[in-house]
Every structure is written in structure tokens, then in C-alpha cells.
């Protein structure tokens, strides 16, 4: 599970039998009380029922593998829609995909335009940066501002029926072996470098100081990063931390990082292109993996930061993996289908669905006012080429393609099966 907090929005993605919607009221209250977002359901912020008025709400999920094991409002999609309808006006609920197969649910509300402040000059974007059609009658209010971060796009890949041989890499046992091989190499290198830089300290002395491998002795004791130095509940002791950066100091996080690199996830947004990227990964016991990536836009100080998140349940009877990102396709230097292929190649699912949510640059209101900027032929052609490429994901057959034009967004749902 993961949560992402932005100044203006919150994303909460939770697995298992979590009761996500039961946290919603408290979230709205916190937004009003702590962050001082406006509210209109009570007279005073002290009132226990005070809840900030959201600008827009999206709730979605794939069909559960074991729906009858869910709790509270999550017992069925109907319950979830009723819960949300009771909280928000003007919500719409959709089911996308096969009713008798893999499908996906979506609930969303329309933008609450009463919350949109007129743009002040200093945060006005330069015309060249976004298409701004100034509407004199609406003071300093620009069409591009309506509901649009620049490059507002979310890609989600939901995978099931994972190849079991490949899924072993998300088990603690397997990852420990990988790590042991990798870190004992690194430990050896660290020892040599330390010996060289210390000059007069002999390597033998260095070996005893690091109480690792008794180099050269008859019953050579392998430098086992985990059993040697971690206390009984698997938490590292101070001696370990010399080997790991200060913040990779639990077994789950350390192994999560090993798996993230070994399986190729860290290469989806490589630090060669995203030097400030940071991946926070965790390997669960006995199996299971989660990772969050924070991806500051490369070489654009102050530009938006994006994220990705991955959750993996590797067991055969309920195997599942998800990848979600809002890193804009055009920023990666790769096609969206290449990112999907990279991810699918990591998890090797038998089936997967892809949802691509893209904010439309011409907004509902702009169309109403007849001010739609003619979408250049070039942009339209690019979109067509991009879409055509999504039809061919190596090793898979695209079964369904369903397009929804929603208020402010285009949603394209695709479903694939292994060939």
C-alpha cells in the first residue's frame, strides 16, 4: 500500500482488506483543520463534522479476487458507490471491461469550480508554456487552469497470473540469496578500499575490525550480511549500518532495494536520466514487495515531481502485481508502450489491463464557449501513432480496447492476454 501527499491532492492506494473509504471523512477533516482548505458543510472549523470541500474525487479498483472477504463499504461495488454518493454530489460510477472476466471500476466527481481562485499575475504561466485563451469576461481566468496540472496523465498496469518461476524473486528466501552474493562482493570491495585509503592499517587488521570473514582461515566464515550481524528480530545492529546507507537500515528495506535493482524496476526511470530519483522499496516476510518512486523532473528546477508505485503479491493462488505512474510519457524519452513492455517483462503476467487517464487540453467549458483551440494535425497524428503502438505489447494479444471521454479526461482501458 502507498500514499502520496501533494500540496493540492492526496493519493491513497491500499491492498488486501484495508478499509480505505473509512478514512475518507477523516482525510477531509484534516484538510480543513490542518491545511486550512475551505469547507462549507459546517459553520465552524471546530465542528467535528467539518470536512474540506474537495475539488475533485476519483476512486477506482480492479475486481477483487476474493470479494466476499472485504469489509465495510468494500463488500461490493454497489456499497462503495452508495458510500461515495452519500458523501459527494454529482458523482458518476462506471464499470469498464468484461462483467464475466477482468474488469475495472471507476467513480469520479465533476470539478468543483467554486473552488478555483482567479489566477494572480505572478503565477500566470507564460503563453508559450500552455495554451492560454484569456477570457476577458472571467477576470484573469484562463482555460488552461481549469482542472489541469500541466501533463496530468496517469498510467496504471494491473497484472495477474504471474509466472511463478519469475515470481520467486519477490520471496525473502530468494532475495536473501541474491543479496548475500551481492553484498559479500560489496563488503569485500569496501574492505579493500578502506585498507588502501588507511594506508598503514594492514588488510588482516581490517578483517578483524570488520568482524566479517576470517579471511584465509581453514573454516572460512562467509560474511553473511543477515545472519551474522542482525539481532534475533531481523533488525540490523550498528555494525551493519557501515555497509548500508544510513536510511536502508531494516532488512525489509535493504532487501527491497536489492530486489528493485535485480528485477529491473529501478531501470524504468533510471538515475542516469533522473539523477534525483529516489526509490523506497520493501520486501515483506515471507514474500510480497512494495515500492514507491519519487521522480523529480530532470534538469527543470521547480518543475513538477512525479511518482510511480508498485505492489506485488507473488503467491500462485492469488498472484498479482500493479504498476502506476504519473510520469508523463513524453518526459521519459520512451513511448508509453515501451514503459508498459518494460514493466510487463519484469512481472511476466498471464493477463493484464492498462488504464491511461489523460487530461484533455481543451476543457468542457472551452468547448461550450466555442473557444476550442484547433488541435493541430501534428498533435492528433502523434496521438494516433502512440495509440497504435499500444496495440502491440510483445508476447501478448490485445483483447479489449474501451475509450471513455470523461469530463476533462480521456480514459483508455486495454486488456491483454499472453499469446
Amino acid at each position: 500500500s502507498s500514499m502520496f501527499v501533494f500540496p493540492h491532492k492526496l493519493i491513497l492506494k491500499t491492498c488486501g482488506t484495508t478499509t480505505l473509504l473509512l478514512g475518507l471523512r477523516r482525510m477531509l477533516r484534516i484538510a480543513a483543520m490542518e491545511a486550512k482548505f475551505p469547507f462549507d458543510n459546517t459553520d465552524s472549523v471546530e465542528d467535528i463534522k467539518t470536512a474540506a470541500t474537495p475539488y475533485r474525487v476519483f476512486y477506482s479498483r480492479k475486481n477483487f479476487l476474493f470479494p466476499d472477504k472485504q469489509h465495510g463499504p468494500h463488500r461490493s461495488w454497489k456499497h462503495e458507490v452508495k458510500f461515495l454518493d452519500d458523501m459527494f454530489a454529482g458523482g458518476s460510477a462506471y464499470m469498464v471491461g468484461k462483467m464475466n472476466g477482468d474488469h475495472w471500476y471507476l467513480y469520479l466527481t465533476s470539478p468543483n469550480t467554486t473552488l478555483t481562485p482567479p489566477r494572480t499575475p505572478e503565477n500566470e504561466r507564460s503563453p508559450t508554456e500552455t495554451k492560454i485563451l484569456k477570457i476577458p469576461s472571467i477576470s484573469a481566468y484562463t482555460v488552461s487552469q481549469r482542472g489541469l496540472e500541466s501533463d496530468d496523465e496517469t498510467l496504471e498496469v494491473l497484472m495477474t497470473d504471474l509466472d511463478q518461476e519469475n515470481a520467486k524473486q519477490f520471496y525473502l528466501e530468494h532475495a536473501s540469496a541474491v543479496a548475500e552474493g551481492k553484498y559479500s562482493d560489496r563488503a569485500q570491495r569496501a574492505r579493500k578500499e578502506a585498507a588502501n585509503s588507511l594506508g598503514d592499517l594492514s588488510e588482516a587488521m581490517m578483517n578483524s575490525t570488520l568482524s566479517g570473514t576470517t579471511a584465509g582461515s581453514a573454516n572460512e566464515e562467509k560474511f553473511d550480511v543477515f545472519s551474522q550481524t542482525s539481532s534475533e528480530n531481523g533488525i540490523y545492529t550498528p555494525e551493519d549500518e557501515a555497509l548500508f546507507p544510513e536510511d536502508l537500515s531494516t532488512e525489509g528495506h535493504a532487501l527491497g532495494t536489492v530486489v528493485s535493482e535485480a528485477c529491473g524496476l529501478s531501470d524504468v526511470y533510471p538515475t542516469s536520466r533522473y539523477p534525483d530519483a529516489r526509490v523506497d522499496a520493501y520486501l515483506f516476510t515471507p514474500c510480497g514487495f512494495s515500492a514507491n518512486g519519487v521522480i523529480p523532473a530532470p534538469d527543470q528546477a521547480g518543475a513538477a515531481t512525479h511518482y510511480f508505485t508498485v505492489h506485488v503479491t507473488p503467491e500462485a493462488q492469488c498472484s498479482y502485481a500493479s504498476f502506476e505512474t504519473n510520469v508523463p510519457g513524453r518526459q521519459t524519452g520512451r513511448e508509453t508502450c515501451e514503459v508498459i513492455e518494460h514493466v510487463v517483462n519484469i512481472f511476466k503476467p498471464g493477463r493484464f489491463s492498462v488504464t491511461l487517464f489523460e487530461a484533455k487540453s481543451d476543457t468542457f467549458e472551452a468547448r461550450e464557449l466555442g473557444l476550442v483551440a484547433e488541435q493541430s494535425a501534428e498533435t492528433a497524428k502523434k496521438a494516433l501513432v502512440r495509440s497504435a503502438k499500444m496495440e502491440k505489447i510483445r508476447g501478448y494479444r490485445r483483447v479489449d480496447r474501451i475509450v471513455h471521454e470523461l469530463d476533462g479526461y480521456d480514459l483508455v482501458f486495454r486488456y491483454y492476454e499472453r499469446e
Binding site: 491532492k9 493519493i11 491500499t14 477523516r26 491545511a35 468494500h74 529516489r278
Partner: protein, 89 residues
């Protein structure tokens, strides 16, 4: 593998939450995904809102909400524009 620069995101680990963490009974992978927007963009917060909006809220405060969801915080990556929480059930 990172080249830390002044804007590099920073990771904080909640070790306590990782003690005796056991996911043997995890069986339902498909997630519930909730996205709540309180403004159309980070630079268009409503008047009167705290300068950093939701990012001004303390992690402890979010944990009260996460308790209602049945999640614990394992670690947080804080950066200028996003705070990313890794959670466990």
C-alpha cells in the same frame, strides 16, 4: 547510485513498524485507489489555504487517518513537491 543534489528526496524509515511484520496471510493484491483533489494544481490553492497545502500536515496526523484504513507507515520519502509513504496492512 544517486547523485544527491540539494533537491534530492529524503527517505525516513519507521523501523518500529517493520518489527515482526508478517504477510503470510496476504491474499488480495488488487488495490483500492482513491485520489482526492482539493485544488486543480499545486500552484492554484484556494485563498486562505496553508502555503504548502496538504504537505503542511504532520505525518502523525495522517497516521490517525491511516489507522481507520488499517495501514501502518513503513517509510516516507519527502521531497519538495511530493511526500511518498510506503505502507503495510
Amino acid at each position: 547510485t544517486f547523485s544527491p543534489s540539494e533537491g534530492t528526496p529524503h527517505l525516513t524509515i519507521n523501523r518500529e513498524a517493520t518489527i515482526d511484520l508478517d504477510s503470510s496471510n496476504a491474499f488480495e493484491g488488487p488495490e483500492k485507489l482513491l485520489e482526492v483533489w482539493f485544488a486543480p494544481a499545486a500552484d492554484a490553492l484556494p485563498p486562505g489555504t496553508k502555503k504548502n497545502g496538504l504537505k503542511a500536515v504532520a505525518a502523525e496526523t495522517w497516521k490517525e487517518m491511516l489507522d481507520l484504513v488499517n495501514c501502518k507507515v513503513l517509510s516516507v520519502v519527502e521531497s519538495e513537491h511530493i511526500d511518498a509513504y510506503l505502507l503495510s496492512e
